[in-house]
């Protein structure tokens, strides 16, 4: 008791069991599956903006694979597709001034 009142630092050891771990990371996540690997018929094509725009934010930025769960290979293919689509004005570079 006396120790706690004196010390400014948080006494980690004093925490009870149910406090412990709660503010820490939770190993609770769902494994994301690459959509293009799951569905082999789904092709990445720069002309198919309906598919591609699902991987782009409203501002026109590409969604990281961390979020979408795409595998490295398909994320790479998607990158080129998005860049191609942008260059011929199928997708915006940015929505800041249009």
């Amino acid at each position: 008791m006396a120790q706690r009142e004196m010390g400014g630092a948080r006494p980690y050891r004093e925490r009870t069991d149910d406090e412990k771990g709660a503010p820490r990371r939770r190993p609770m996540f769902r494994r994301k599956v690459c959509r293009f690997c799951a569905d082999k018929t789904l092709k990445i094509d720069y002309k198919d903006i309906r598919t591609i725009s699902q991987f782009v934010t409203e501002r026109g930025k590409m969604t990281p694979s961390r979020i979408t769960g795409n595998c490295a290979r398909h994320q790479r293919l998607l990158t080129t597709a998005i860049k191609r689509a942008r260059s011929i004005a199928l997708l915006p570079f940015t929505t800041a001034n249009s």
């Binding site: 569905d39 094509d45 011929i88 004005a89 570079f93 249009s98």
Partner: protein
């Protein structure tokens, strides 16, 4: 010889000359011993951003079997033609194998991907 595809965007006011332009580019490819496999006119589409103060443009996709020389020649012609806002040439054989006919992105007729949540296309 390889399968190439060139997508080009024409100025909206040059839309009446579309047929003529397509015919001209077809001749360019054939002049280099290429064969035009498919021509897909997407028609007038909104541009994602303004080009030469235009918000719309005519999109046309040209697919052809040819040597690289024909691509060079076609791109040279595209640059010389005025009213061409953009063009993009891509080798189509490895990327879109087995489906030479491109999907029409402006149409809604395509069935939504099964299992995928319906997400609307972000419009600018």
């Amino acid at each position: 010889m390889a399968l190439y595809e060139t997508l080009f965007v024409v100025h909206p006011e040059k839309g009446t000359r579309m047929k003529e332009l397509i015919e001209r580019f077809r001749k360019v490819v054939e002049g280099q011993e290429g064969t035009v496999a498919h021509v897909d006119e997407w028609g007038m589409r909104d541009l994602a951003y303004r080009i030469d103060k235009q918000a719309k443009g005519f999109y046309t996709l040209l697919q052809y079997n040819s040597s690289a020389r024909a691509v060079e020649e076609l791109e040279r012609n595209l640059r010389l033609t005025d009213g061409i806002l953009r063009y993009l040439t891509v080798r189509a054989d490895e990327a879109t194998q087995g489906q030479p006919v491109a999907k029409h992105p402006s149409e809604e007729h395509r069935a939504p991907a099964e299992g995928a949540e319906a997400k609307s296309e972000p419009r600018t």
